[in-house]
Symmetry: D2
Subunit: 302 residues, 4 copies
Amino acid sequence: MELNGVPIDDTYAEAFPTWVSRVIITAVTEEWAYRSAVEAVGFATSAIGCPAEAGIDCFVSPDETPDGRPGYAILICASKKKLKEQLVERISECILTAPTTAAFDGLGDVIADVPEKIPVKLHFFGDGYEEKREVGGRTVWAIPIMEGEYIGEEEFGAVKGVAGGNFFVMGETQMSALMGAQAAVDAISGVCGVITPFPGGIVASGSKVGSKKYKFMPASTNEAYCPTLKGKVESSNVPDGVKAIYEIVIDGVDEDAVKLAMAEGIKAATKVPGVKFISAGNFGGSLGPFKFDLKDVLADEL
Amino acid sequence: MELNGVPIDDTYAEAFPTWVSRVIITAVTEEWAYRSAVEAVGFATSAIGCPAEAGIDCFVSPDETPDGRPGYAILICASKKKLKEQLVERISECILTAPTTAAFDGLGDVIADVPEKIPVKLHFFGDGYEEKREVGGRTVWAIPIMEGEYIGEEEFGAVKGVAGGNFFVMGETQMSALMGAQAAVDAISGVCGVITPFPGGIVASGSKVGSKKYKFMPASTNEAYCPTLKGKVESSNVPDGVKAIYEIVIDGVDEDAVKLAMAEGIKAATKVPGVKFISAGNFGGSLGPFKFDLKDVLADEL
Amino acid sequence: MELNGVPIDDTYAEAFPTWVSRVIITAVTEEWAYRSAVEAVGFATSAIGCPAEAGIDCFVSPDETPDGRPGYAILICASKKKLKEQLVERISECILTAPTTAAFDGLGDVIADVPEKIPVKLHFFGDGYEEKREVGGRTVWAIPIMEGEYIGEEEFGAVKGVAGGNFFVMGETQMSALMGAQAAVDAISGVCGVITPFPGGIVASGSKVGSKKYKFMPASTNEAYCPTLKGKVESSNVPDGVKAIYEIVIDGVDEDAVKLAMAEGIKAATKVPGVKFISAGNFGGSLGPFKFDLKDVLADEL
Amino acid sequence: MELNGVPIDDTYAEAFPTWVSRVIITAVTEEWAYRSAVEAVGFATSAIGCPAEAGIDCFVSPDETPDGRPGYAILICASKKKLKEQLVERISECILTAPTTAAFDGLGDVIADVPEKIPVKLHFFGDGYEEKREVGGRTVWAIPIMEGEYIGEEEFGAVKGVAGGNFFVMGETQMSALMGAQAAVDAISGVCGVITPFPGGIVASGSKVGSKKYKFMPASTNEAYCPTLKGKVESSNVPDGVKAIYEIVIDGVDEDAVKLAMAEGIKAATKVPGVKFISAGNFGGSLGPFKFDLKDVLADEL
């Protein structure tokens, strides 16, 4: 199986459930909405060491936001228990505090039915000076603050989505693999309802569960995918001629969104000179309930 | 007291101790170092709701980094107990995972004596395949990962620094105040050893300790500084003609750095048309051991 | 007539014909397409002193470009005679020379009928080593260069479009007007088939034809719209309470595109705090064949 | 001769005289200064097809600008005759028209003696409403415009500098060469008094004088440096294993600045994985009066 001349591994990505909320941050200009979004989705690459996984989903044009201002939609992904706390903290510390921003629930824009609503009672911050309003058909609270007023909804939809959709971009040189991964991230940024939570959207280090040598470690480097260890470890999965591998990890609101993101990302990566091989990561299928077979994902392209 | 025609309040900023580490992130290009830095300092505006306060200190040119590549220095600020955890998590989740990055201790570049060293044992991630190296006179670990190797130091300096240095930019219109605050943040970005941890460097919402109406709230809006409440609350601190107030909060490695940042920031803000008044926030002097009197801060300018 | 509480002047914008081409620049990543586009549309604010008017129209997703890579569409506007020269020079100096770029005709994507085709024979640069190919159904030339191959079409559509569509954003302070103008530019960037050719999309200085004092000057400042001259000149058009005015100038492929851009831009500007008045520039209707009455432009909003 | 394990060709770059001016653009924030600078240096890659060569030299901090605001210094390079016209047009169309900008002469900041001053009489634009002022010890004109006032100097230093300093970055893959070139451009951006005028600072296409096949062409592709023609042309200069070549072209105020830029750029490029060879371009020494021998340029590094 080849796409744009690049072999596609006959394998699948294994992914897991996560709870997901989607917040639309609007502001006076695109730039100010973006800055708040960047702060709100930081320190959120992997649920293993970060309090959540989060990222910018997409730009939302003024015609599509409740208050007619430009906005960015972000996804915040965590266990159901942690999601409420993360919504409260990230909205109150990174959006309420940001210049000119407002926050609205944006999950209903990307999925048909929103199964749950999480209350995020920021209005108590107003100490009684706050008041209810309506903006674009939404019930919001207006809270007096130093810059004027903060406007925000207080209920955010949540859905059981997908975490850990993924594929590997393997390159003839490290820079070929990196640019292939960058092209993939660019392409995925055009897909609604997904994020690539790692720095710049790209993972430079893979991991396996546990450690052979250091028993106290819950995870350690995945030596089978380390190009510098090819020939030094028993069974390496690094194809001949591959000098570097990057992983694109995708979280999304549902399987369809993740599947589309994988397809767009892989298609883009295979167009970059020096990309030699595409694969995906799984744990033998025993852990994750979601399986994204690359053959299926790319069915329309092949 | 006036600066560039703008009245400067006869008051002081009150600030608190915090522990601070400074990490230099290098990468193959400036852009990739920046992307990792942005992820590593996200969700870190205020220690109240975030696990740390963090921000980008400054660009570090290839001539000044241990590995001769371009870099960004970040500050991570937290209680001593939390700082180690935050260093470990932010380096392992946001730097180790980022394309082409390396991490080095950068505290010694901005203070004369580094009192403490915090161990950050990432090398166990290598599962025995890691090895010690020397880069630019530093002892580092090289850990095999999917992109090749991650290089990093494992001890990071820590110092008792200053959190909560601040000043207020008040404007004739909201946009005048916002651009004044932006000009301040721009100017402070040129000062070494400090960060402005809020979104885009600016705080749109101030707070007071506790709440008059909602007893369960640890903090609530500071109505005395809310322009929309002027005339509705008993004693407002919003000067006549001021429609919006932004606060610049500054964390730094020591008092001198914070003082210089305040001076540069205030100077820049007063040059922006429509900025009407500069003040600073304090709690009557009873809480914070550090006091930055605006008269002293601006002594060289007035 | 008011929009979002901001008075809209009962006047019209007067505009002129110009010839327009639209070039799609694709590259390995969005960033590299963008860099080439920025160079290609520089020094192109006004046909009075620049060799052309040019700007970035919009991002073009991989699914919409001939080669399946990400791209940016730019507009180049000039007299029919000058347009060919400007196409040749800007493509050969700013796109052919840029890393990984390809150039395709993009006019047919935004207008129904392309009346003219301008030949741009870059393939002679190949000195006989070039060859014809087909990419995405387009006939292109592949020219061997140092990085590998440059791919490009050699005929670019041209249409008689509109230059000088405009409106004025007037503010209570300079920064309010500036942010209002920025919000307008943000909104217009979402409209296809138009550009705002001035720096950052905004004009800080208006002009009148000729000069009263310096007879050799073809154009000079428009004192009737200078806030600092209100009270010093006989008839000022600066409304009371207005401290600054910015103009948004719009060039587009046809009247509908310019009209839509004006509507979106004005709507966005009126949402910015401190924007006091919206007007537009004309020369009494004697010069330009196109008239955009603000009442008509905003008919759907009012 | 090797640097960081990369062979350095035993050759030299040949360069030519050009006249150079340096303009400091200040604005209310860094961003607005940058936007004006980007417009002012656009369409300016090569004097062959563009009206000038131009680029951003460096950021200038508020402490170093005449008006205490943040700024960017740009270089404009052209023949002596064309330089005046280009200064006038680029300042009047791209700086005077830009929001909040001021323009100052910045050549004296990077060379000891400024041999010539070029008058740029923008103040006539004020139609008699303009007035002389002093800003930071400079005589400037304040011209009333729509946003308020434009402030600018009217004499700009000019010096006979160097155009066409250069080196080649050759890579094992195209992406390795491109990232090597990018790292070089990053490093050169830290050197004062130089620019890399091509898109993103990088040249993807080299040229030779004239054409073998098309006699009417003044320049055509340099087949000896085209990787896809290796084996098809008689004498290729593409080393074995090289798949792509990028050229970095440097213009500067004097030989020292260009030499330093070459050294910093080459040093940075050789640190990028997959960069295989560094060379430089010359015409046998018969044309350009300036010769930059790579051995000399890198003397401190080798």
